[in-house]
Subunit: 346 residues, 2 copies
Amino acid sequence: MIQSKGYAAQTPETDLAVWDFERREVGAHDVQIEILFCGVCHSDLHQIKNEWFPGVFPMVPGHEIVGKVIKVGNHVKNFKLGDLAGVGCLVDSCQVCENCKEGLEQYCLDGNTQTYNNKGRDGVPTYGGYANNIVVREEFVLHISDKLPLAATAPLLCAGITTYSPLKHWKVGKGHKLAVLGLGGLGHMGVKFGVAFGAEVTVLSTSPSKEAAAKELGAHHFVVTSDPEQVKEVIGTFDFILDTVSAPHDMNMYLSLLKTNGIHICVGVPTEAMSVQAFSLLGGRKSVAGSNIGGLPETQEMLDFCAAHQIVSDIELIDIKDITASYERMIKGDVRYRFVIDMATL
Amino acid sequence: MIQSKGYAAQTPETDLAVWDFERREVGAHDVQIEILFCGVCHSDLHQIKNEWFPGVFPMVPGHEIVGKVIKVGNHVKNFKLGDLAGVGCLVDSCQVCENCKEGLEQYCLDGNTQTYNNKGRDGVPTYGGYANNIVVREEFVLHISDKLPLAATAPLLCAGITTYSPLKHWKVGKGHKLAVLGLGGLGHMGVKFGVAFGAEVTVLSTSPSKEAAAKELGAHHFVVTSDPEQVKEVIGTFDFILDTVSAPHDMNMYLSLLKTNGIHICVGVPTEAMSVQAFSLLGGRKSVAGSNIGGLPETQEMLDFCAAHQIVSDIELIDIKDITASYERMIKGDVRYRFVIDMATL
């Protein structure tokens, strides 16, 4: 076994703290990565606090992982020592069901294996990226370009693919009006991708103070959703809303902002059920859809797209010892737009 | 003005009763139809009871209207005296917005004019088909084939187009597994169209007693949704659910029955908001969509399709004096599958 060091929550009630644990030995198809940076996703906090479902404890969060390959198994074909590599939200899946065969491992019909807060196909708990290393079978390891700043690349592994995938799936691009709801880790990537794909992008936010920042990210318009006058002006105008908000919000109001045939795409996960009036949908053949991260081939495509277009996340690099304080700032929305842990501080 | 006779609710608290009222004179672009049959839609009851929104009273319900042309205006081009003709849920729209130009008058951006419980563009209340005649501009009048039994054609004007349109829009057909939720006026038409389009059709119902009837309509399978064992067998198996139920129901359970990328299409309108967990959508890139009747060109297309394929509604012909008792039976689901008023009894 590989002696490893990370930050873990021992229970939902305790703060994260240093924890020594074991990773499996590097198998024939495995890649071991020395983790250099790991992004801090809001879902890390949801999960260590058991807000979605009872978790697997002790829990080492983190699924926006980048680093260097330090060991490869005998049968590994696509990675070698010293390569930059990344790991996102998934570390395994059945790889034989129709979804896996289509590269939709996130929707594996046998259930995917998540990077942390899960048990692997061997029954052993998975531990995430707030750690000095990780061992993952190569099919779930991504190539990371050396043309991008490495720390700012980490959030692409979750926030990036989570927003890239639905925009690609629903073919959002030139001629479309896209609203991005919420300007946090996911939202700011949604703006960057929406702009890169050629859409006319509007940020919808309750915080007037975010307007300048939204425009800096490339957004064409900004609407303060707490101002009824501003909202009235955009009723029936959007082809798509990319909804990155995980706090409860008024779905029927947002649905009224869509054009006929418009699609409201949820990528955030509110802990409470959404309340949707049938009339809000029937009134314009509208849809509420959900999209969950992305499969491995598409994640690699996204990373390559980002390298080609010089797209990374806007980040604030933190010391891992400040993780609890950073969570508190994240809850308040006080981060532009993603904390990334410098694993040298572990 | 044209002296007319119909059945009206004077208030939401009173039963329908005979009422004499006036229609406008036949204008240059108008067609006057002697109403021979009118279907009884569940939405008639929702509206006279003010269950959706405050109505326009006195209210003459009815938007599944067939009859004979008895007068045409000077500029009417497509109808002549003696033609069979139908009127559905719409009698007017702006006719110039982008949706109207695309034949999506039901989504008119200026607001469509409904056949009853609405005010026309002249400010005058509209009165529906529980009456001896109706005057409608010709763009909103449909041609009815003489190859189909006329009374059974009436429900096509609402129940027919409401189920035909979404199946066409989402291209439901060969190779698809379609579940039809609810086997009433809408549901039984959904089964007929689903089968006609080549889909493998399953009826989902809480009533085991409906299985034989569902199979008679052409459904390939039947699942009793109150039986957890039967439900378990169809988890993750449907490409589409056509949801015709207007009583509250557990959306998250039904969403679990969809395949990856599956679409739950609502055509019924529950009076309460639907409660949808984000995970129910994200777990398989699923959607909840709504569809509202259909536009005029598509309604004509549907009627022509029905004539070519000998598709009509299964009906029970009633005397208009029995309308209140028929509503009571409709609430209990005791009708196969649509009451149609024989207007000779008025």
